[in-house]
Symmetry: C2
């Protein structure tokens, strides 16, 4: 779409994506047919429909827990708004960080978490805190009704609750997978 | 091991890991039997052997490309040494960052990349740069013989080369998966 392409075939998509054309057609067919045989897909139509399937038109309210390097990187780099979220609060327990500004948001004290969640509907918490802190903070958030988590910590939240939605970004695991693949010389499939 | 446990059964492991005991036994059996029926696994033995399988005793030399918030977070938070790597260089093209110190390493100019790689054997490059910069930098590194990448950028390196090893950390994808799961109320399996 950025390049002004308006129609694209599954074959052209397959070159760009490293999948077979048939895989792409099958996957898209799971959500209803988006293309016309012989005419390919409307690029804008595909963009909008995939966005709808993902739910990107939502604006789930997210708070960030932890304003260290990682939290700051997540707050600054991620375009939450384009991904179905809006970042509405940032919390930390470090006095040196509380009151500083990241992305037009003032970093709040962890002590203000309960008040904030009672005054604002919060859908999602983003965990950028050390493993040891995660369990306790998740307990507080769960009690406040926040049950969706984007989890960068190394604590496995899904072990404690079965009615939550957790999406993990486990960078340690990723690094060990890389180590395994280098050690076993296993190139990208 | 941290808790002083010396032996553990697949059942006890399954409670901690959210997998069935039989899955755990089957997975470990793929690498040879580590346990004794009725006696469980030696915790230290398992720790060492899994580390060996992953190749964590290696010390692959890694350089970090990009010393922004994300790069800094990766450099500071990741215990490369425990994961089979050692971080030996950090590069950026921002004059404000060049010369600053992160984790006892001075941030070098991107101009020094060729010289550094000729003087030091580099196994892995960690990409913490914007999508637009990745392709060009990968070309330079590939020419220098660096063919393993830990990729935080949103550029799909595997499309350009088929003899490289890439491990992606695609945080945008992860956030969209979370959006999809919240929109479709799909809890953790």
């Amino acid at each position: 779409m950025d390049k002004g392409v308006t129609r694209i075939s599954s074959r052209e998509l397959s070159d760009k994506m490293g999948l077979t054309a048939s895989q792409i057609r099958q996957d898209l067919n799971c959500f209803g047919g988006f293309g016309q045989q012989g005419y390919g897909y409307s690029v804008e139509g595909l963009y909008l429909k995939i966005g709808q399937i993902l739910g990107l038109e939502n604006s789930y309210k997210a708070i960030l827990i932890g304003a260290g390097n990682l939290g700051k990187a997540v707050a600054v780099h991620m375009s939450f708004e384009k991904k179905g979220f809006s970042l509405v609060g940032i919390f930390d327990n470090d006095p040196a960080k509380i009151g500083s500004e990241i992305r037009d948001l003032k970093v709040c004290s962890m002590d203000e978490l309960e008040l904030f969640c009672s005054e604002n509907h919060v859908d999602v918490a983003v965990f950028c805190v050390p493993k040891t802190a995660t369990k306790h903070i998740a307990e507080r958030l769960y009690k406040l009704g926040v049950k969706n988590y984007w989890n960068f910590s190394h604590y496995d939240l899904s072990l404690d609750y079965d009615d939550i939605i957790v999406e993990n970004v486990h960078m340690n695991d990723s690094l060990m997978i890389l180590c395994y693949r280098i050690s076993n010389k296993e190139p990208e499939k």
